[in-house]
């Protein structure tokens, strides 16, 4: 059996992370915001870990795609966005939903397919949505939601509401047609939309550079839409927060869209069934050393936050995740009643008289 990188991607040169930008400690971000982000990081981490545990207990069925290791992006944006801004996420959307304030219990119950889930069990892990929080949906077919985000931004522009739509998507998504159409339309209509590529270096199991004509799948395409390339450290909540703040302000000022590439890594597999064996070991371990949480913990300590304060946050989050889990487990299986509801706006599914 041949043993080169075209047969086994784990044999390729590892793609290693850049070192932390230590100057970011000095960025003008107030401590409350930072502590909020610290808490958010933990919420996303612990929620995802719990989701994984529940999957191992066979309580989460179907598929789910976790953001473990990638939490800094949802966190940074969540902190920078206005409550009425719009989020459009992918099937890997738990983090983005929580970062907009979706109730953890309702989210967890949805993963369990329970009646008390945020979608009553109809949508499941891949479609978390909470319109009341500006979480406009999680979309499971690559590319579409970039176009939909444009529509929400167009609506905000027409309503002069000052809202911004933010679409999160992966590196692999930059190669689908809808990406191109969405970016072009956003640019010519100067839509208040921010496109955020979470570049975790892999599509499902295929390294992104094997299938992409440019080294940076998003930043390397910005100029094709008259945009500036923006590359940020996707494992640093401060870096993401600053980039988000700039892009959101630009959008709100009427200066049009931004395309941000946030480089990160998922610490687990693509979806629940994937052991992630296609990645060079040295790469996995190097990125494990760049985990956003210990890094941010260090930064906050360095900025003078007492360890006790941070560990209090961690415990508080742990409790919240336990409560959410109990809430979810206590939910009932949805009944036949809801099977036929909400196909149409009259609440039902009647297609004939």
């Amino acid at each position: 059996m041949p043993t080169d990188g075209r047969y086994d991607y784990a044999l390729r040169e590892p793609r290693l992370p850049r070192p932390v930008d230590t100057t970011l400690a000095g960025a003008a971000i107030d401590l409350d915001t930072r502590l909020g982000m610290y808490q958010r990081l933990h919420e996303l981490r612990q929620f995802e870990k719990r989701a994984y545990d529940l999957f191992l207990q066979n309580l989460v069925k179907g598929t789910s795609h976790l953001s473990l290791g990638m939490e800094a992006i949802a966190t940074g944006f969540g902190a920078a966005m206005r409550p009425d801004d719009y989020t459009f996420a992918t099937y890997r959307g738990h983090a983005h939903a929580l970062a907009r304030g979706m109730d953890m219990g309702q989210a967890m119950a949805e993963l369990l397919g329970r009646e008390n889930g945020v979608l009553g069990g109809k949508g499941g892990s891949m479609h978390l949505t909470d319109v009341s929080k500006g979480m406009m949906g999680s979309y499971a077919i690559i590319g579409a939601h970039l176009c939909v985000a444009n529509g929400a931004a167009w609506s905000a522009q027409m309503r002069k509401s000052g809202q911004v739509a933010v679409a999160f998507f992966g590196d692999g998504t930059t190669n689908i047609g809808a990406f191109h159409e969405a970016l072009n339309l956003a640019a010519i209509w100067k839509l208040p939309v921010v496109f955020v590529c979470e570049n975790n270096l892999y599509m499902e199991y295929t390294p992104i550079d094997v299938v992409t004509a440019v080294g940076n799948p998003a930043a390397g395409r910005a100029s094709a839409y008259g945009l500036e390339p923006v590359l940020v450290d996707g494992n640093d909540p401060d870096a993401v927060f600053l980039a988000a703040r700039t892009a959101l302000a630009r959008a709100r000022a009427g200066d049009g869209p931004s395309l941000i590439e946030a480089v990160t890594y998922r610490s687990g597999g693509h979806s629940r069934a994937d052991p992630g064996k296609y990645r060079p070991e040295r790469e996995v371990s190097a990125w494990a050393g760049r985990d956003p949480i210990p890094m941010y913990h260090q930064r906050l300590l360095g900025l003078g936050t007492p360890e006790a304060r941070l560990s209090a946050i961690e415990r508080q989050v742990a409790d919240a995740v336990d409560t959410a889990t109990e809430f979810a487990k206590a939910g009932r299986e949805p009944g036949e009643g809801s099977l036929h509801t909400e196909v149409y706006a009259d609440g039902g599914s009647k297609w004939r008289n």
Binding site: K122, H127, V131, C147, G151, W154, E181, W351, N353
Partner: protein, 326 residues
């Protein structure tokens, strides 16, 4: 009263609704400055301005996606897809996103949007610009499907589609664009899900849609000379479907025919045939028969296209023969 063509009725209906609802907007390729390639949107830019009537790039996914995102955040939208064949280019957006998102979110979002598109054959545009694809839309749960056959219906059903809180795919027939009718003054609003009996009859029921309606009517006239009294039903909308009107008619006539422009397999006629065969079985005096375009792509040459689409003669002969059969 004004005499309007089917083509003019489109703009008329849209204008009526844009006057009523200042939030209603539209977008599509060449719809604004040029008034549309079928001239169905002439005058709308001038009346409603470039913020509400927008020309787009050739980006069907972006067009329909923008409509979806705007609709779900409170702005009702009319999107034009120039030819219905091009629905295939944005089919994911329509079939997987717009149609399903309300259900997936357990009712958190609605899609007050209309996708208008020029449908059907008869104008010698060949296989990629002549398809009848109402059945594509009908088979997707979550969509509503409308296809008017007259200028008045264009206006009334357009208004109903725009006011409907669900996504509607609105099929305008290319071969009917030049047909004319007197339009009454004042607002015209119709209702989705109501078929119309356009000719009463007692021996056979013929269900037809769009361009096939006038052909079915002509065939019915010819059948009359043979002593066969045909009831002709203009379906007008496929979803919601007015099964009551259909089944009542079959109860009376005992014989059911569909005249479809889409190619044979899995056309809407099959659905109707299945409904009638299941629910009116004991009332049937003979087999349910579908008259369709054969299961082939549409040819470009006039001579060939005329043979492909159901013609008055074919409708007439099929029905006459069915009485001889057995």
């Amino acid at each position: 009263m004004a005499e309007l063509t089917y083509r003019e009725a489109v703009a008329w209906g849209i204008a009526q609704e844009m006057r009523r609802d200042p939030n209603l907007v539209m977008l599509g390729e060449d719809i604004a400055a040029a008034g549309g390639v079928f001239k169905t949107t002439v005058g709308l830019l001038d009346e409603f301005g470039p913020e509400r009537v927008r020309d787009t790039p050739i980006s069907e996914q972006a067009i329909v996606g923008a409509a979806m995102g705007a609709a779900m955040t409170g702005i009702p939208v009319i999107a034009e897809i120039m030819f219905s064949d091009f629905l295939a280019v944005c089919w994911d957006m329509i079939a997987n996103e717009i149609a399903k998102s309300r259900y997936m979110t357990d009712g958190q979002v609605s899609f007050p949007l209309v996708i208008r598109t020029a449908n059907g054959g008869g104008v010698r545009f060949g296989a990629q610009h002549s398809q009848s694809v109402e059945n594509w839309a009908m088979m997707i749960p979550g969509l509503k499907v409308v296809a008017p056959s007259t200028p008045i219906d264009v206006i009334g059903l357009m208004a109903a589609s725009i006011r409907d809180p669900d996504p509607v795919v609105f099929f305008e027939h290319k071969s009917l664009m030049a047909t004319k009718a007197e339009i009454p003054d004042g607002e015209i609003i119709d209702q989705l899900g109501q078929a119309r009996i356009v000719r009463d009859g007692s021996d056979v029921t013929i269900a037809a849609l769009a361009l096939m309606v006038p052909r079915a009517l002509e065939a019915a006239a010819a059948l009359e000379a043979d002593g066969i009294s045909a009831e002709v039903i203009d379906l007008r909308s496929l979803v919601p479907l007015d099964t009551n009107t259909l089944l009542e008619s079959v109860q009376k006539t005992g014989r059911f025919f569909t005249v479809e422009e889409n190619p044979r397999l899995c056309g809407w006629g099959a659905e109707l045939a299945s409904i009638v065969s299941e629910e009116s079985f004991w009332a049937l005096d003979g087999p349910v028969i579908r008259i369709t375009t054969p299961h082939i792509p549409l040819p470009a040459a006039a001579a060939l296209e005329d043979m492909a689409l159901p013609s008055v003669d074919r409708i007439y002969e099929t029905i006459v023969k069915s009485f001889d059969a057995r």
